[in-house]
Symmetry: C2
Subunit: 357 residues, 2 copies
């Protein structure tokens, strides 16, 4: 029952339900595309006495040092961009939320794939943004032609979730170039696991926004840092709207953690390589057992089996202490999304699956 | 120049300008009601290896442990309340922003004092909330009768900023009881420095929302944690809206820091006592120099002098390495707001002031 003070514009809205975090036992958690692997050792070192002793002071609301660290890590200078093209947020969710709040609404509608990250639909539903779902093609790949022809602002993850399928930057540029009057937001949460980034396209595509998170390839879901790379005037608009809502959206420890992790490229790359390698092994093992597995470029695989329905598979895994994610919608209900964890975690997943087959 | 993608509803809006953080030299910073005093030693201990090693996992979006820590620290059980009455945010700014986003808008206007925290006006201006300023009385105290009679939703700080003047909980209850159809939001950012909290009134006043921050009395501006205490159904509405905008609004390190500091009541109380004591000394010293000083219950004083205009005072202090805050509006331009720092910092402020007199 909502309170009587909930604004009338939200009446009838179905609130988002966060993914479960059961505490009844210890699970192998392969349900949230996060990781049990620690972040870079540089993170530990960044949380030093000087940082703690200075917590009485507000952190920099412009996130200057963090934006410069992002510019270095992404080598923005090589693409005609700099820190003025970076807007940082409390996770890519906040970046997306502020992008939508800043740019969308009545007269500025949004479209996104019918099978994709649920945040876009939930945001649009809650905040009254006219929204349209663009069906994936039959093979669950993104329909580039449909997005190029769409009159609405566009958002999609690349690679998409939960499929793991990616399109090429040239396809993204085609979508952006089709109509400069609308924004094309590419959510690259999973891009580090093998897809090509669209960041180099930003300088020549003023309506392109590329969103990144440190929750995946930097092993920092618990720190919750994200950013977007876009034209400087749009980045400035985002900062203006943020300053009216929550100027100090990134705490001092969070920014210190992010800067430290961004500076340790070799650790990041080693973690990413381990996931890619384990993804290949897991895919091979599943295929050998008769599963169909989409060729994922994310830190997860999307798999289905002709003789093991996904609901039973998911429930059986859970009974055996392995959590995966099932999406109960017409086009996804035969599939399970399985986060790629460590070798031991994937062995536990495969053993439990074997018991169910 | 805004980008072409800024939604039309923001055209003509004047963006908020954050307080300056000059880096040309080291200043005695008395301009942001923050502190150079470190937080509780428990904070250092909370940032341990287990926390860092677990950063690959998302933090609890329900902030369960933090809400329970708040309930204990505020002894909510003694007032017929519990953790379900607590909503936590990334600073009290985010809590206020989400309260406004959840409850205000066309048909749900807001009123606040004409001299007060600028965030309320900036939020309303940016996000199109009909807003009215209710003048303080001639002595700069809150006009309780005017707020009791106001048809709009109400927000004010208690103590108010930059005056430091507070009203009694009985006055707040009178405002709340005058019309249960509107929200009365009391921003108690500075309440720990000597005013009485309205938290005990929440159980019997379903339209009362009490907002707290850890940025002041917990020496944690850089961690940026806040919460509100209100009826459970409104707290649930706030969570619903948050989940559509940014589910993981508090990072794992931030929550660990907050929980540690909330558990160290004696350190908190000692820091508060030191500020109260230094506030009394600073007030006495200023009065002895011919200043008029409002009887502040905040971690700052608001002062004016018949022969030293506030702009010159502020500029002279700055030249001498001391930053204070001047508000260039008709009713405040003769005054300076001076944060209460350590004894050494206040001595530096008083010495610099002496040079200017």
């Amino acid at each position: 029952m909502p309170s009587r003070y909930l604004n009338a514009r939200y009446r009838g809205v179905t609130p988002y339900v966060p993914g479960e975090q059961p505490r009844d036992r210890t699970y192998v958690k392969l349900n949230a595309n996060e990781t049990s692997v620690p972040p870079s050792p540089a993170v530990r070192a960044a949380l030093d006495d000087a940082l703690v002793d200075g917590l009485g002071r507000y952190a920099d609301p412009h996130c200057t040092a963090l934006r410069e660290a992002v510019a270095r890590a992404l080598d923005l200078g090589a693409h005609g961009l700099d820190a003025s093209c970076v807007f940082c947020g409390n996770g890519s969710d906040e970046v997306l939320g502020l992008l939508f709040l800043t740019c969308l609404g009545e007269g500025a509608p949004l479209c996104f794939p019918d099978v994709t990250y649920g945040f876009y639909r939930d945001y649009a539903g809650t905040f009254g943004v006219p929204a349209r779902q663009v069906p994936l093609r039959a093979d669950l790949s993104l329909d580039v032609d449909a997005f190029a022809a769409a009159p609405e602002n566009v958002v999609f993850p690349n690679p998409n979730a939960p499929t793991g399928l990616a399109v090429e930057p040239a396809d993204v540029e085609r979508i952006a170039a089709a109509d400069r009057g609308r924004l094309v937001i590419v959510d690259e949460a999973y891009v580090d696991y093998g897809a090509a980034t669209c960041v180099p396209l930003v300088a020549s595509n003023p309506n392109l926004v590329v969103v990144h998170t440190m929750s995946k390839s930097y092993n920092l879901a618990g720190a919750h840092v994200g950013w977007c790379v876009c034209a400087p005037d749009l980045a400035a608009d985002l900062a203006d709207i943020k300053f009216s809502l929550n100027p100090f959206n990134l705490s001092a420890p969070t920014m210190a953690i992010a800067i430290a992790a961004l500076g340790d490229r070799s650790y990041h790359d080693a973690c990413v390589s381990a996931v890619i390698s384990e993804r290949a092994r897991t895919t091979d093992e599943l295929v050998a057992r008769g599963f169909t597995v989409l060729p994922s470029l994310g830190n997860f695989v999307f798999a289905t089996h002709p003789a093991l329905d996904a609901v039973s598979w998911n429930a059986g895994l859970r009974e055996r202490g392995v959590l995966c994610r099932h999406f109960d919608a017409p086009r996804t209900r035969d599939w399970l999304r399985v986060t790629i964890g460590t070798r031991d975690e994937m062995d536990a997943f495969l053993s439990a699956t074997d018991e169910l087959l």
